[in-house]
Subunit: 385 residues, 2 copies
Amino acid sequence: MKKLSILGSTGSIGTQTLDIVKSNPSEFKIAGLTTNKNIELLKKQIIEFKPEAAAVMDREKADLLKEKADIDVYSGIDGIIKIAKLNDSDTVVNALVGSIGVLPTIEAIKSRKNIALANKETLVTAGSIVMDEIRKNKASLMPIDSEHSAIFQCLNGEKIEDVEKITITASGGPFRAYTKEQMEDAKAKDALKHPTWAMGNKITIDSATLMNKGFEIIETHWLYGMSYDKIDVVIHPQSIIHSLVEFKDKSILAQLGYPNMKIPIQYALSWPKRFSSRERQLNLAEIKNLNFEKPDFERFPCLNYAYEAGKIGGTMPAVLNAANEIAVYAFLENKIKFPDIAKIIKSMTDGHKTIKNPDLNQILDVDKKTREAAKKAIENKEYQQ
Amino acid sequence: MKKLSILGSTGSIGTQTLDIVKSNPSEFKIAGLTTNKNIELLKKQIIEFKPEAAAVMDREKADLLKEKADIDVYSGIDGIIKIAKLNDSDTVVNALVGSIGVLPTIEAIKSRKNIALANKETLVTAGSIVMDEIRKNKASLMPIDSEHSAIFQCLNGEKIEDVEKITITASGGPFRAYTKEQMEDAKAKDALKHPTWAMGNKITIDSATLMNKGFEIIETHWLYGMSYDKIDVVIHPQSIIHSLVEFKDKSILAQLGYPNMKIPIQYALSWPKRFSSRERQLNLAEIKNLNFEKPDFERFPCLNYAYEAGKIGGTMPAVLNAANEIAVYAFLENKIKFPDIAKIIKSMTDGHKTIKNPDLNQILDVDKKTREAAKKAIENKEYQQ
């Protein structure tokens, strides 16, 4: 039986993780739960799953919950880290959104917890530090997103040195067929109609710019120690093939399934076993066609920025991530146009002097300063070329 | 270094195996070679690969070769079995065509050789006996065809009890889009234009009737201990996905590549390693579309006959195979119409009283008698319904 702490248990990944726990009561026990501020749902989860402790990022909301709950309730980032380090847990599911997720991952690994990782920022901004800690503490790091879960499954029983290429599939997002002119006028509400995956707003915009795929390229680099020239992206609108691994004998393995986060979440938790699931069986004859096309780096420059930032390394991916986050939220609030997201990122990365081999404080400092600079640039419209 | 004996070294699989040996001189040594009657090519192979011994099925041709070669040359089925049991080899590649391949496989396993198996009849007619011998002698049995190699690779690092379904892909063959009426008039030369795979004549007709896929269903049953209700077929005209394995968590693994026998042959020989290969890298964006459809059991009744014969077991699959072989050669010689192949098979299997748990002699006897009966039925046109 695995004892889980779920960071971000009230979000999309968090609630799906709890569904899996519920379906497999003999396999999992909940040690700790955290939320940003959704204390109503957290309270229900506490009653149902009986964790030892919980944490709420928002301090006022935490105080409200403390009055009603009869378990330890912590608050703020320190509270979240406490849950990440709980003695009673062996595995931490990090389903936090944003760079807030980095520190709890590292603290959990230092406490020798195994990690099931949905938080993209952890590896994008601090991949080198995280992987070092994983090795040092002999912990395991299981990816939760569908693409990296696919790669992990294709590598089962294989040697990483036999891999010639990893191909990450991308749905192409809601603007796959948009011209550059159409993109100029694209609104957040257009992007939020994602063709295949139901996700949060931030990540849906990342999917529209392909930055989401850019982050996955950087994560692949760290998770599998793969150089960037061996990582490819192919557009596959149906999102049925979740990624592919090519070996040096030109044999390719792929993992497939309907777009359904339950499968990669459960695999991250059940590994090295597989548990049964009642999700829908894939029926290729019903799907009929799987399509593929090259990504267009001109219409989707963010993909290229991610490759470049990844190759430069050091603090550059943290700049990429922070600039993107601020730009995406500005777009969601209709403060900037869709193509401005890429422009803001480019102006921030162009202006950054990379620190090589940064420690975590330097990364978090760059993250903070980039956010401030990006906000200022948006206010003053300084990113226009 | 592996020491190989290749049974059927002058055929399509045999010569491709020797190409791989040539490309990996530090990995393989040739112990023995055999041919049906192509002694010109065998002689060249003897000079190039310097085996310890060779065998020729045709006794007259064997005598001719003996005069010219300075190694031991054996003849007939006994000669082939001698090569299968050579002391100096550790692995036997069985690339024989037809039920002649069964006995040498079993004798090789009894001599504790590992087997790389291209001969379909071995498992179709004698699967139970072969798998028993494999277990008893702790030998390994590696499939050479693309579909079973795909399944094997998908199962790497996985547990067979976690498998919920195996889906074998089929190109659909040259008559995939033919109506029943068009099939009535289909000629051998039409069938021999196979859309994706370059193969021998017999196997190309088996691909046109989908009997080839039927045999693979039976082989899958034996290779992976899979019950028939867990084995599916999907038509996939591009032959890029070579087969798929679904696990109980609804995650699916697939193996992909251009239609190219070199990859599965090399994998069967390199396993548990992978060797480099200079074959073409798969490019999905260039391929653009992968299509899938349900097999039509009405237009392709042979697929159903294979399921039925497999489920009945005992000597029934040997009848299926023998009747098919005679019918296919009669079709190739324009003695019967294309739909008659299925009719002949049906009349032979309908007329057979299955022997349960047969020994090898009983299987070979049923094989022989079915051939005689099928030939007679064709002469007398007794199979017409």
